[in-house]
């Protein structure tokens, strides 16, 4: 698909919007529909579109596999780390109330962090799975 100029230009215009929309879904999940799961998938979809149009080799240089591997683990570590932090603050595992003086502010912070962890891991896993399948029969 590399030589189709319409596809290339439309992809170049639309990919930043997809990524921006993913960030909106990620950080607006407290107020509207959405959250880490959807945001991670949409963020990955932007990169996958890039890989479909410009080839998996271009995608691989945009997001190197060793970075992806780190991000897969980083999200889960962030989520579990919030739980360990609340444990260290002498509250229950994942009891966000302990994160701040005000319980509601603690809940906000906790939900923000765990949703971010969900988004990071899901996005990285989706790009990894795409690269694993689509990158195998490159010429």
């Amino acid at each position: 698909m590399n030589d189709n100029p319409v596809l290339r230009i439309v992809a170049k215009i639309i990919i930043p919007m997809i990524l921006l929309f993913a960030l909106y879904v990620q950080f607006h999940g407290d107020y509207g529909p959405g959250g880490g799961f959807q945001a991670g998938v949409i963020f990955a979809a932007g990169f996958i579109l890039y890989g479909l149009v410009f080839g998996t080799e271009a995608l691989r240089s945009a997001v190197p596999p060793h970075i992806l591997r780190i991000f897969i683990a980083l999200g889960l570590v962030l989520y579990a780390g919030v739980g360990v932090t609340t444990l260290l603050m002498e509250a229950d595992f994942l009891a966000y109330n302990a994160l701040s003086q005000d319980p509601v502010a603690g809940q906000h912070l906790g939900i923000f962090l765990v949703e971010l962890g969900v988004g990071i891991t899901i996005g990285a896993v989706m790009i990894t799975v795409f690269l694993g399948f689509a990158g195998r029969n490159d010429p």
Partner: protein
């Protein structure tokens, strides 16, 4: 009344799409049928007011899994191989399972019944307490990330494991085709 008509139409289209996916031989067309099926399921979830679920179905079912199935077709080829056995036994098993599931739904409370157990137990507690305890408008997020934080951590661990599994099985290094510089692996 209108909602019932919409539901019946969507359910009928779901059945037609599923049958078409079973009947078709071209795997590319089957993948498109799965995408259409997910899109119809998305509409169904919107009609049921489950916007968060619809959002996930649209992103995962219509988007990512279609792309992944297309990537798999790129590996295995586009034509389905003819089955070597007659599909009678699997058909009987599926019909019996389906009949048992339909029989099971007869005991369930009617749809939108306010006296259903699911609306009596924890549901009202979450809905009533979430604004004070969590303080965010989207109750779905507050249940998912806070009240049911353990479950979501478990789900994330499942996805993490799936990603690690794909990494282990397929790897991400670029493979050379057989014949190019000697050997595939």
């Amino acid at each position: 009344m209108l909602i019932e008509v919409v539901n019946v139409v969507i359910l009928a289209l779901l059945a037609v799409t599923a049958l078409a996916a079973v009947r078709l031989n071209d795997l590319f067309a089957v993948t498109m049928m799965f995408g259409i099926y997910s899109l119809l399921a998305t509409i169904m979830f919107v009609v049921l007011d489950a916007i968060d679920v619809a959002f996930t179905e649209a992103a995962v079912g219509v988007g990512i899994s279609t792309v992944l199935m297309l990537g798999t077709i790129g590996l295995v080829g586009r034509r389905a191989r003819k089955a070597s056995h007659r599909p009678i036994l699997p058909l009987i098993v599926v019909i019996i399972t389906g009949a048992a599931l339909v029989y099971g739904t007869l005991d369930m409370p009617r749809f939108t019944d306010p006296a259903a157990p699911v609306h009596q137990h924890l549901g009202p507690y979450f809905l009533n307490e979430s604004p004070d305890q969590i303080g965010i408008p989207n109750v779905v997020t507050s249940i998912l990330a806070s009240y049911r934080g353990y479950d979501t951590l478990g789900e994330l661990a499942v996805i993490f494991t799936a990603g690690i599994g794909v990494l282990g099985l397929l790897g991400l290094r670029r493979r050379k085709r057989p014949g190019h510089e000697g050997g595939a692996r």
